[in-house]
Every structure is written in structure tokens, then in C-alpha cells.
Symmetry: D3
Subunit: 137 residues, 6 copies
């Protein structure tokens, strides 16, 4: 099932081939997952999406690569994105996420969802102590 | 504005006082934020919520305290919980989150939301390579 | 703050006046809350929305009026609709929701949000025992 | 898999048959998709839902039919409704949505989700210039 | 498909066995649904989750057991949790939810989602009459 | 209230000044809304966000500028992003959105949210006729 037709022979398009080559080289694998195959229907959208994933998730940055994958999982589960939860949990495991870390991630995500629900149901005023413009950072 | 009336003199109730005392002792501050004041209308709900926040966010666990706050922020923003975003961003800052880490957190959260949206709009099949029951972890 | 301009003298329009009159008569109060004042910019949308609210929430049906308000609150908090949480919590209180019922509602909503988060993060297969086409109801 | 049992021989009920006949006549096809088959368990709910879909999506209105389908897809993907994304993407394609329009729709939806996430994480004050009550429209 | 590997022989772990035994005894059935099998990878998370489900959904409380299941369904559908909608609709049916009650639940949930969308798009100010701190309850 | 401190004198930073200059030139106004002022704490994030907004929302593309704003509003309301709903409704009005178009947008968004809720609560199977891989587009 898919809401968009998967491109046939996408690498016949040189822009698609260039992206796929870069995915293979960057990830050191021949496996190209479905997201990229389906995005290939529009080479520009494919290029933009891959460029951003590479810049944010693969390039060095202020956060640890595994931490970034866990944040990704947290957002994806909250948005009920089955595909993204699967792909980024696999990525987190490949980057060394242990069972204990996975359980802790679930515990934090679940508690956040729970207190979000309570706070959104109480709608109480936000403490002025939490206002960053007054806190100074 | 609030959807529930804030309790007056909540510490007249000994169960509420015990929770508030524990919050002050655990956090080493006299400041008790609104969430706990509003939850005081039902001492049992107050106790349960605080016990879980303390066990998950404050006790030692497999993840670093700052990482847990960032995961909390990620879920809270996705759920549009204004109160929780404010309180946990303040907590993350208090635990040392730098401007660069904050910007990186925003970048990962924003990319996740973006690709969640794309994947949920394409609805393509999940790669069998992502099935944990076949991956073995 | 509002994303749409509030209508001035909306009851100069007879279709708006007819809806406002029906709201006042049905609810036995002169108070017309903001939702209806803002929807008045388009009398047809106003009429459709009020007709549906009246048919679903006020007419007799298989569920108790207070139960319907609690379901409404549950959906509204999950959707982070501040306005709706406020208006339907006020409605539930007016229909007799006690503090204990409110706390129980929050407890169920919070647990549901929590296990939703866990199940959406695990993405495990649905048990065939839950398939209604096989259960027979 | 389904959470509700599909009705058997739903057109034995004359109210269901009348709705199904109208769907076939309006859409000029014998195909009745699953939504209507499952809603047939309650003829009143079936009638109400079809009446509203017909009035909003099929009757002439201020927006172009294809634009309405694209707005529908945008909401449905954001709500992670797999069924609705599939059915309304098929409808948009049937109404002429091109690959370029589809890619542009995805790009706008993805950017909106991204900036929603950033704005919900920053929680900055809304500019008074955006207040419609002051703007005048 | 699953994002986490299902535990093999989970009851070899005595903590898991104790939880499974309690589920069987409490529910008076030998059927243990997938959620618990997958949570068994971390006995502590399994214990915490079951303890809370038992306390909130099974123990006597201010709300009727069927009402609690309907609130659970409302939250789960809004969060697009396919697993939870399936399991809690089965539970509601087992507790006696009739077709008419199910249809009414859908009608209230659908109306709430609709007016949430309208109110979140209008962003009008909340009436001070809805402020619980002024209402007194 | 804000979860991040607003930058003071952001244009002292030449990268921020360059973005602000481009915003003013592109939009032909001296008004720079809060989003950009708050993003200025990290010039790279500011540059990336503005570059993408400009490319997607301002550059010519397959969809009409007003249609893009309406899609943006639809996603933003569904995500309960108060800031984004305000800013993009103002933008849509500035691009000529009439009251009738606004009402029609609300009607489509509301119906989508309603049927999303119903379909997510029924969890019925997706018709194979909706599978793009079989449809051919």
C-alpha cells in the first residue's frame, strides 16, 4: 500500500542516481530504504530532503548522534509516524542504543505524553519563572 | 486563565504538604510551580504524578539528565503543550543546555516533524529491514 | 488576539440572530460565548456548527450528557485546543462533574496518552483477537 | 483488521441503500469504498457523514475542488490518518493533481510541520500585527 | 512488523512471569496481548505499566468502567494509535458497549475534532466566564 | 512569555543583518515578525529557516501562493500552533483570501478532522483501489 506510485528504475534519472550514490557512500551500504525510492518521483524534493537529513543527522553537531536519533524517535512516535519510528529505531540500534536506554527513552516519552495531557487539560497559567525573557537565557 | 480552580492553602492537607516538602527538598528550592498547585485538588493524583516525575526524571537511569529533558521538550512541542515546553526548557537550561545544543535540538525536532509529515503523506510500505523481529534486536 | 476579526453587531444579520436566539433559548442563558461571535462572519458556517452541536451534545442520545462532555474534553486536550478545553470543562462542571470524577478523567486521559506513546513507539503487530471482523461485533 | 465489524448485506437496510445509491450516482461509479461499508452499522451516522462530505467536498463553493482535496490531504497527514491520506490522494489524482503539484503540496506541508515544531518549541509571543481584531479583516 | 524485538520465552524471567500471572488472574483469561509480550524486554517498565493500567482501568473509581474505556478510545483515536484503538474497542465491547453507544461515541469524538480544528484556526480569546479561578469550581 | 530569550540588537551580527535585510527586501516592509527575532540566537538556524520559507512559500512553484498559505494554515491548526495560525492567516488575508474562502477553508479543515477521527477510530482496511502502486499514478 502506498499513496504515491514507487518510481520504476529511478536511477535512470542522473539527479536521482547522484543522491542514491551519496546515500550509499555516506551510509556505507547498498541498501536504499523506501523513503528515497518514493521521493524519487521529484528529484528536487529528493535532493532537498537528503541534503537536510545528511546535514542534521550525519554531520557533526552539538549533540551526540545517538541522542539525535532518540529525539527523532520521540517526535515520530508522538506524530504516529509508523515508518519513521521503524527507520529511526533501527538507526538508533545501529548506533548502539541498548535495551536499557531504549526502555528509558520509552519511559521519558511516556511520562512527557502523560503530563502534556494533564497540563493541556488543566490549562493553568505558565509560571513567570519559566519566561526566558526574564530568566536571561 | 485555567480550566480548574487553583487550590487555596493546599498545604493544609497533610498529603499535599508531604509532596510539596519532597519537591522542595529534592529540587533544593522553595519554588513550587503551578502544575503542583493545580494538581493539589486531588492529593492522590498529585502524589502519583510527582512520584513518577521523580522516578523517571530525577533518579539515575540509563540516560543523561539533560538528554531526558531534551526528549521531554521534543514530545511536549509536538503535543503543543505550552506549559510543558516552558517548564522543561527552563529545566534543560538549568542543567546546562547551551545555545548550540538548543539550536541542534530544534533542528532535529524540526527535521523529524518534516519527514514525519512526508512519510505520513506518502504512506509507503515499511522496509522489512526495519522489522526488529527479523533484525534480532 | 484572534486570527479572524470578531463581527460587529452580528445580530443585525437575521440568520445570525436566529442562531443566537436559539442558543439563548436552548441553554437558558443570555451568555453567548466567543466561538459563536467569531463564527458569525459566515452565517452558514455558524448555522451548521450550532445545528451539529445541538444535535450531538444537547439532544438525547445513547450516552449520558456528562459522559459526552468528558469525551469532548479528552479529545480537546489531546488536540491541544485551549478554547475547547476551557468551554467543555465549564460545561462538564455545570452538568455536575465532581472533583473526583475530574481527577479520574485526568487519570484515564493521561494513561491513554502514555500507552499510546509506548504503542506508537513499539509499533508491534495488532493481535488478531482484536479484529472486529473476526470477533463478530 | 478493523475495530468495528463490517456490515453484511448493508443494502438490505433502505436507509443504507439510499445513501449508497446517492454515492454511486454522485460519483458516477459502482465503487463504494470501505468507509461507507463500515459506517453502515449506524444508518444515521452514515447519512450525516455522507451528507456533509457531499455538501463540503462535492457542491460548488468558494474553493476549487482540487484545492479542497489538497487541504484534506494536509490535515489527514498531520493527523496520521492512513485511510484518509490514501482515499483523498486518490481523489486528488482523479481531479488532475500532477506530480509537480503533489511535490509542491508535500513541500508546503513539510515546511509547515517544521516551523510549527520550531514555533511550538520557542513559544514566543504573537506579534500584535497578526491580531485580526486590530488588522480589520 | 515491529520496532522492537518480541521477547522469546519471556516467562523464564520471574518478574515477567509474575506480571503475566497477575494479568491472567485479573482478567480471568489465558490471553496475554502483544503489548505485554513486547514490554517484557524490560521487566521494570512492564511492571510499572501493568500496575498503572490495573490501578486506573480495573480498580473501582469515580467513573464507570465502560465510560473509562470510551475516554481511552477517544484519546487513542486522536493520537492515531492503531493498536490502542483496537485493544480498547475490544475491551469496551466486552464491557457491553452497544452499537448505539459506539455510534454516539464516534459522533461526539468527531464533533470535538471538528470544533477543535475550527477553534484552533480562529484562535479567538477564551471567555473569562470559562476561567475556573473565577468560576469557583 | 517565551521559552527562549529574545536576542538583543540581533543585527549587530552581520549574518543576522543579512537575513533581516533580505526579509525586508523580499517582503517590501520594515516589519520583521517575532519568529525571526527569536531564531536570531543561532544565525545558522535563522539562515536555513528563512532560506526554506523563501524557496517554498515565495518562489514561483506549481501551486498558487494563496493555496500554499491555506495549506499552511490547515497544517498549523491541526498542530495547534497558535503563532503559525496567526501569521499565516494574516499572510493569506494579505494575498487576497476572502471571507467566503476563509469559511470554505474552515469547513474543509473541520470535515477532514472529523473524518480523520472516525477513520482512526474504525481502523478499517484501506481499499486496494487506493493503492497508488496499483493505480499507476
Amino acid at each position: 500500500m502506498s499513496a504515491l506510485k514507487k518510481s520504476e528504475n529511478p536511477e535512470n534519472n542522473p539527479r536521482v542516481k547522484a543522491v542514491f550514490d551519496d546515500i550509499r557512500a555516506t551510509r556505507k551500504t547498498n541498501f536504499i530504504n523506501h523513503l528515497w525510492h518514493y521521493l524519487a518521483f521529484n528529484p528536487e524534493l529528493l535532493e532537498q530532503t537528503w541534503r537536510e537529513v545528511k546535514a542534521v543527522m550525519i554531520a557533526d553537531s552539538a549533540l551526540d548522534p545517538l541522542v539525535k536519533e532518540m529525539i527523532y524517535i520521540a517526535v515520530s512516535a508522538t506524530n504516529a509516524c509508523a515508518y519513521c519510528v521503524h527507520s529511526h529505531t533501527a538507526a538508533a540500534r545501529a548506533k548502539g542504543m541498548t535495551d536499557d536506554q531504549h526502555a528509558d527513552l520509552l519511559r521519558v516519552m511516556a511520562l512527557a505524553a502523560k503530563t502534556n495531557q494533564i497540563a493541556n487539560a488543566l490549562q493553568m497559567p505558565i509560571d513567570t519563572a519559566f519566561d526566558a525573557d526574564q530568566r536571561g537565557s
